[in-house]
Symmetry: C2
Subunit: 119 residues, 2 copies
């Protein structure tokens, strides 16, 4: 039961595409991540996923369109929907998703984070 300062937490890591847990409630995690470049196409079979941009700009590519998120904008990718996050510049996001969510969804790769960490 401690408050969380997003700026302080973001200062604790610098690697990209490796979310950190900063909160847990009702079976969901609140995570922070730093993104840069292109991630892999994937989907989450059973989990809806929220991306809220805290700094920078994130494009979430869907199979039929792109969703461009600036600071202060969020988008919910429904379960089962393929998506590919792309950040042309370093971008900081807050994620809200079930505890069961794997960052690469239904596809394991060297970018899959198995040992999700709290900060």
């Amino acid at each position: 039961m401690r408050k969380v300062n997003l700026t302080e937490k973001l200062a604790l890591f610098s690697d990209h595409w490796k979310p950190r847990i900063v909160g847990e409630l009702n079976g969901q995690y609140v995570k922070l991540a730093k993104l840069a470049g292109e991630f892999d196409w994937h989907k989450h079979t059973n989990e809806d996923e929220l991306f809220l941009v805290l700094a920078g700009c994130l494009v979430i590519r869907l199979r039929d369109r792109d969703v461009r998120l600036e600071q202060g904008e969020f988008f919910i990718v429904p379960q089962g929907v393929e998506h590919k996050p792309v950040a042309d510049q370093e971008t900081h996001v807050l994620l809200f998703e079930p505890v069961s969510t794997l960052n690469t969804g239904d596809r394991r790769s060297d970018r899959t984070v198995e040992d999700l960490q709290w900060i």
Copy 2:
């Protein structure tokens, strides 16, 4: 499946202590609210509740201490924990909580919002 701009949504209402829904995922709502003054002591028997301050300053009084949240800070009130939100100035917050959550928790009053609205 539309993106949500928090600033644009906040411009759509001005009343205090009446959250609006701006997103839904995994049985949870994302809500926005404008707060000013003191709310009632209450608890949510079955729901954890997250307050993220977007603008202003929110004090969440607990029975044993106060938690002071500035912009960019969040706090999760665990289920069953009595709390009383207080905002000395107008404060804008984002809430994450289960769809079942009532704003006044276990106590109904004239501040209870029964007809929660999407914006």
